[in-house]
């Protein structure tokens, strides 16, 4: 009978040693790993530390980010929806990071560690970072805005404020409202302003104190509608009648940040207009947030 080739001594021994060692390591890891997770006690202690030093305007984050729901069980009362759904992290000077397994948060990047303590499997760091001074938050100040719809022929109709939104006539979904949106499976506080067929949705803020930059974030809300449709949405930003840029948002773009340099007009008050249009507006839930920053 022909016999199969035996593993050569050296390869065989190496394979045997590797598999045996792996079996032991994997078994040990499976037994030990559950004990490496943070306990309720760790979370309570870490939360107490944060509460003791927390100041209004601080940002509290979890690292890795997937631990955020547990973080909010302990500190959710200090994280309002506006902060949880923040446009980005730039405005926060003090960041509390509760981390595990050596992870760090992007929100704490670029800062200096002012405090650091360990509570079991959790590490609390307070990070001091240079923050952007926000001169005007377009989402928070949505009641300052005037909205209108401009038809293909150029005729324009006003969209008066009705309860919690600006409602354009004749088209039920043609609204502008501040709400939590889901873009790229993350929640943001934004203005939801769906584009309309053969028309432009115009949102104008008449008196905006400008800083050195105007930061605009755009995205498409609602995972089911991103699945259903793929049309792009264009946002045109006009400052005091001068065209400053068009940003196109597609399904895969996520929450895209666009920066317009307004250094030359810093300190001035200007009218800022957002014009929203799409060649295929079906199921496009366009969301935007913007801040004028120094």
């Amino acid at each position: 009978m022909e016999t199969p080739p035996r593993l050569t001594t050296r390869a065989g021994l190496a394979a045997l040693a590797a598999v045996s060692l792996l079996a032991l390591v994997e078994t040990a890891s499976a037994i030990v790993a559950p004990y490496r997770a943070p306990t309720d006690q760790d979370w309570r202690a870490a939360a107490a530390q944060v509460r003791a030093g927390f100041r209004p305007g601080d940002l509290i984050v979890a690292a890795p980010a997937w631990a955020d729901p547990i973080l909010r069980v302990y500190l959710g009362d200090l994280i309002p929806a506006e902060v949880a759904g923040r446009m980005d992290d730039e405005r926060f000077e003090r960041v509390w990071e509760i981390s595990q397994r050596g992870a760090t948060s992007e929100a704490a990047a670029g800062g200096t560690v002012a405090e650091k303590s360990r509570f079991g499997a959790l590490t609390v760091r307070r990070v001091q970072r240079p923050a952007a001074a926000v001169r005007y938050d377009f989402v928070a100040r949505w009641t300052d805005a005037h909205a209108s719809r401009r038809g293909a022929g150029g005729a324009s109709v006003d969209c008066p404020r009705v309860s919690d939104r600006l409602q354009c006539p004749d088209v039920a979904y043609n609204t502008v409202r501040r709400q939590l949106v889901e873009v790229d499976t993350r929640l943001r506080m934004a203005l939801l302003a769906p584009p309309v067929t053969q028309g432009t949705v115009v949102i104008e803020y008449p008196h905006v104190p400008l800083g050195r930059s105007l930061v605009v974030a755009t995205g498409l809300h609602n995972v089911w509608l991103r699945k259903e449709a793929s049309g792009p949405v264009d946002l045109r930003v006009v400052i005091d009648g001068v065209f400053d840029g068009t940003f196109t948002t597609r399904n895969d773009d996520g929450w895209a940040l666009h920066r317009i340099d307004t250094t030359a007009r810093a300190g001035q008050v200007a009218a800022v207009r957002f014009e929203i249009m799409s060649p295929a507006p079906h199921a496009r839930q366009f969301a935007l947030a913007a801040e004028a920053r120094f």
Binding site: P4, P5, V19, E26, P34, A37, A67, P69, D77, L180
Partner: protein, 602 residues
């Protein structure tokens, strides 16, 4: 007392039985901790409804109206449930098992929670305290059958310790183990894929098994639509095995197994599913189209939410890695390493050689005096075991590598590969055992004797421990390479689906004040809620406000399963409940699985 000496056949029989029994015991011991997934809730309902047809058939026979049960309205009343989605063999078994083995409280407070009218107290063999266990029992038996078959199949090549290791490693895979005890089809079709492959393999040198392959294929068609793929993999192997014919410009003779599958498969498929009987062509087309045009449900993989076929080259490349990466990050790493050794051994194997050092020769000489024919087409050639295991393992993975196929089921979509992967691991173990024995001094004969079994135990240990660790959240679990639950979450791998992970929260919900019982269940479907109540695990007073945003806004308490695409639901909680602070989070090793909000909670 003289202990009777067992022959080889009997020892193997006992080991086979022991492995199957251990499987049943392990699964029955732990299945209750695992909640009911969306699909399982539907199959409970459908299974019980299908049983209703048999119940009515019995009444009709007793009343001399036998034919009445076969009229279109009566058939459709019962069998349209969950049609055209899935054929009905398993669901029917679940329904029958429930009817036979549940402990009946059916005329009590839960009477109205059944999908068919309860006419009176059921006389049963009350094996199981929970009704859901009675539904699940056939799936558990199918898992036991698979473990037994893997041992028998591997024994064709390997000695007992590595063959038993292959069987254990089949079960001891966290994702397979998750699917094994539940009343769904993914574990049963894994059993059937192995059964069909086993029968085909035997049919290459035995005419009896050719017919059996056809029958088993027909049954597979009645279990799940994955069965459509089985012949493709087997034809691939057959053409490779008979590549000599192709080289000689001869078309290989179609073997009995394929003929039987072609003839018996459709007959059994049609015969088993009453819903098809009254409109066979239209409804078969509906069934096929349902799966050929299946929606891409949301699924997280490597941090992306996949819910449509990818359109860019980059995304297509990422998507195509899903089955391979999914396997690499979910199967215990020691099993993967052993399988790699097994693959290396098969690659080095020459035609005719045994698969394992101590195994039988594989070449035609071992086929005895059988003459090659379409009845035993492997009699005159090496059966190419390496190619067989390759197509059975890589075939399902390859299909799911095509970017346009949906991946919403994760490992379950290519789980039919896993028993064959375990066989490869068994082959790997068989190659390392002689190396280990060679290290032991010849004088220590007893030590050498036990070395194979000890090594088999060693290589099974991590898989068993890891599987135990994963339960009941097998879908959230990732292996040592990924870094466990937390590593999987950090890599952006899918954490769960089907809304099953709620069992540890039921006590909290039960203890809640009556004012909070307007409950939003998110992804736990109403059939599952009903079954928790029928099982006595959920208070009957707990409500179900329904699905979607309006239902959430009507609720006082609500849960949210963590899946990437459900984020929008959390915004509704924040908005409607006026807080971002959950009342509690159900987690595993620090990884959130289910978040609970309570309106007005501090």
């Amino acid at each position: 007392m003289k202990i009777p000496r067992l022959d080889t056949r009997r020892i193997d029989g006992l080991i086979t039985f022991g492995l199957a029994l251990a499987t049943v015991i392990w699964l029955l011991a732990v299945e209750g901790r695992q909640g009911f997934g969306r699909d399982e809730g539907q199959y409970f309902r459908a299974g019980e409804r299908y049983w209703g047809w048999f119940e009515e058939l019995g009444s009709n026979v007793a009343n001399g109206e036998f034919k009445r049960s076969f009229t279109a309205p009566v058939i459709d009343r019962y069998w349209t449930d969950n049609a055209p989605d899935h054929p009905v063999i398993m669901k029917t078994l679940y329904g029958m098992s429930w009817r036979a083995f549940h402990r009946c409280h059916c005329t009590g407070a839960t009477r109205g929670l059944h999908p068919i009218p309860v006419k009176g107290r059921h006389i049963t063999l009350p094996l199981f305290a929970r009704e859901s266990t009675a539904f699940r029992f056939p799936a558990i038996l199918f898992a036991a059958l698979l473990v037994a078959m893997v041992y028998r199949f591997a024994r064709g090549w390997l000695s007992r310790p590595p063959a038993a290791a292959a069987a254990v490693l089949t079960l001891a895979q966290p994702h397979y183990f998750f699917h094994a005890p539940i009343s769904c089809f993914d574990a049963p079709i894994t059993t059937m894929a192995f059964a069909v492959g086993f029968a085909y393999w035997k049919s290459l040198r035995s005419r009896r098994w050719g017919i059996a392959a056809g029958v088993l294929f027909g049954v597979s068609l009645g279990v799940k639509h994955n069965a459509w793929l089985m012949p493709i993999f087997l034809v691939g192997h057959y053409l490779w095995m008979r590549r000599g014919d192709l080289r000689a410009r001869r078309f290989p003779r179609p073997p009995l197994a394929f003929v039987a599958m072609l003839v018996l498969g459709p007959i059994i498929f049609f015969a088993h599913w009453p819903w098809l009987w009254n409109s066979p062509v239209t409804r078969t087309r509906m069934y096929i189209n349902r799966h050929l045009q299946h929606e891409h449900y949301n699924f997280e993989y490597l941090g992306f939410n996949w819910n449509n076929p990818p359109t860019t080259t980059g995304r297509k490349l990422i998507r195509s890695t899903a089955p391979l990466v999914g396997t690499a990050l979910t199967v215990p790493v020691t099993t993967l390493a052993l399988a790699a050794v097994g693959i290396a051994a098969l690659v080095r194997r020459r035609r005719g050689q045994p698969v394992a050092p101590e195994g039988p020769e594989e070449g035609p000489a071992n086929a005895g005096d059988q003459k090659p024919s379409w009845l035993q087409p492997g009699a005159d050639v090496d059966r190419a075991p390496g190619a067989f295991l390759l197509v059975q393992t890589l075939g399902p993975l390859a299909v799911l590598s095509v970017p346009s196929t949906p991946i919403f089921g994760g490992v379950k979509h290519f789980m039919t590969a896993m028993p064959y992967l375990a066989v490869l691991a068994g082959i790997g173990a068989s190659r390392l055992i002689p190396v280990l024995a060679g290290l032991l001094p010849a004088a220590r004969a007893r030590l050498r004797q036990f070395a194979p079994a000890a090594f088999a135990v060693l290589v099974c240990l991590p898989a068993v421990v890891e599987t135990r660790r994963s339960h009941p959240d097998g879908l959230s679990h990732y292996n040592l390479l990924a870094g466990g639950f937390a590593g999987g979450a950090s890599l952006g791998m899918n954490r769960q689906f089907w809304g099953y992970a709620v069992v540890p929260m039921l006590d909290v919900i039960n203890r809640d004040e009556p004012a909070n019982r307007a409950m939003y269940w998110h992804d736990v479907i109403h059939d599952a809620v009903n079954m928790y109540k029928r099982d006595g695990r959920l208070a009957l007073e707990v409500g179900d406000t329904g699905f979607g945003e309006d239902a959430l806004r009507r609720s006082q308490t609500g849960i949210l399963f963590y899946e990437k695409h459900w984020a929008i639901y959390e915004s509704w909680f924040w908005d409607s409940y006026g807080t971002t602070k959950p009342f509690m989070v159900r987690e595993r090793e620090g990884v959130p699985l289910v978040t609970m909000y309570r309106r007005g909670a501090p």
